[in-house]
Symmetry: C2
Subunit: 335 residues, 2 copies
Amino acid sequence: MADMVNFDEQDFLRRADIVYTRRAELEAMADRAYEDGVTNVLVCSVGGSLATMEPFALMIDRMSDLPVRSVHAAELMAAGCNMVGPGTLVLMASKSGDTVETVAAARWLKERGARIFSSTGPDASPLAELSDYDFHFGDGRPLELPFYLFVGRLLADRGSFADYADFADNLASLGGALNAVRKQFDERAVAYAHAYHAEPYHIWVASGDLWPVCYSYAMCVLEESLWIRTKSVSSPDFFHGTLELLEPGVPLTLLVGEGATRDLDLRVARFAEQHTDKLTVIDAADFELPGIDDRWRALLGPAVMNAALQRISKNMEVVCKHSLDIRRYYRKEAY
Amino acid sequence: MADMVNFDEQDFLRRADIVYTRRAELEAMADRAYEDGVTNVLVCSVGGSLATMEPFALMIDRMSDLPVRSVHAAELMAAGCNMVGPGTLVLMASKSGDTVETVAAARWLKERGARIFSSTGPDASPLAELSDYDFHFGDGRPLELPFYLFVGRLLADRGSFADYADFADNLASLGGALNAVRKQFDERAVAYAHAYHAEPYHIWVASGDLWPVCYSYAMCVLEESLWIRTKSVSSPDFFHGTLELLEPGVPLTLLVGEGATRDLDLRVARFAEQHTDKLTVIDAADFELPGIDDRWRALLGPAVMNAALQRISKNMEVVCKHSLDIRRYYRKEAY
């Protein structure tokens, strides 16, 4: 435990505080969005940023009657989306604030009367400039935190989240709880990195609001940063094709959530343990989350799972001697 | 050309006619659905059947103002969907009509007042039994054809598809046009099967209404039937991770559509031809479609591409000496 690689506990607390101490600012933005009128919600960005927000589309769907959809920024501009118009609130995210497709989509959306909430890193950026409600998180983390506060408060304003204040109070402990997850999972993450870093192919599976976490981790970390081949597939769809590839020697990593689709994940676990000796089950229910009431655990699943997975990345980086920052093509070539 | 394996031209024509000759029946169902009232549309099933219908969700989105979403049957039952209620028209499909999750979802949907259009194979089945508008296609094909007619007529009834009658008239030629596609593509399919059947890993890419075709072909044919490892990724998301895995020797298969997102596909082609010697581009625009007006080509892209891809399957089956009907687990084990 003393030797966790690339882990600065105090820095994680500081970064969570960067966002949480601005809770009032995010809530005021949500109040303004509510007062400006919201008839439907679109979640729109690209790649990992889109995946970060997709759990909030599910949260809105489950807790309210607001129509909500998720669309890739590039597909939106090419093909449109018939729900967009005045009254549409768009959630957008970009760490740099200058992701080309996301900025272009923001412009497209503004032309059609939509309002934009964006979460971006820098003090100023093209995406923030185009947004009606723009939050700049600097090096604050986790990336989900601004959305828990903004979306939670918006749902509260609409009468769809009666206990929002208690939920948001709990978020004061999120930074510490995620550090606890990192510590609880690190030993398994070290073992995982040693066991599986040289595998030629990984199957990754999850469902519900952990599906975007799984999709994004496989694509944006294992593929993009570590050049490891993956197939990610949702727990229910696993049984409609990918299962036939499972046999002894094939690594399958399953993320199990505490939310509504938990049984779909457990079904994969039961099948996979019969058919591969390389099954890893990461169950959100196994983590202690100090300072977090049990009733908020499921909603925090994406942030919890990303904290655990980060320990795999950090250990993979060391075991593979492959920095997570090296790319073959990204920002090295024009395409 | 004389020696196309597993290709019975007359049988394909017969099977297309099975559906087309019942155009009036499908249109009458669409008229009834329209008269019963449709406030929004849900596309819901599992695996390949869901993928077959997803292009029609895009068609509805692009041509009308009807809210439309696609949800996996298992996730629907576990987690719900806030758009479902009286006025919801659900499109469902199951070749057997007894897919467990789809039938259970149909029951769940009926309890909430939704109306169901289903397309199933047998004369009678549990899914058909639960449906308000049930079409039984027997061994009719392609699977998209009932949806072109039902969805097209429904949009026409709503005033969103002025030229529907001409489109539907063109569908009389669909069976012949798809045979022409099979013939035009077979030589390339044979070469593809020989070149790539033993590759340890394939990247498959597409966008828009060819994305579900790509997703489903990779999962339900290459993985499920041929036990070939794949990563399928949408053309825009390819650039947000998977691109880093491309290098000489890695096969990438790109489906290029004629619709709104064509440029997103061509961007992948330009990148991939720089970075792998194993690039296959299947461009829907390259096929002659006898009897089909140019203006309907884009809308027919999913059926056209599936016809071409079928030639890969049929040739892979021969080259790999691996029947498409063999499974390790499906319908052999309970899970």
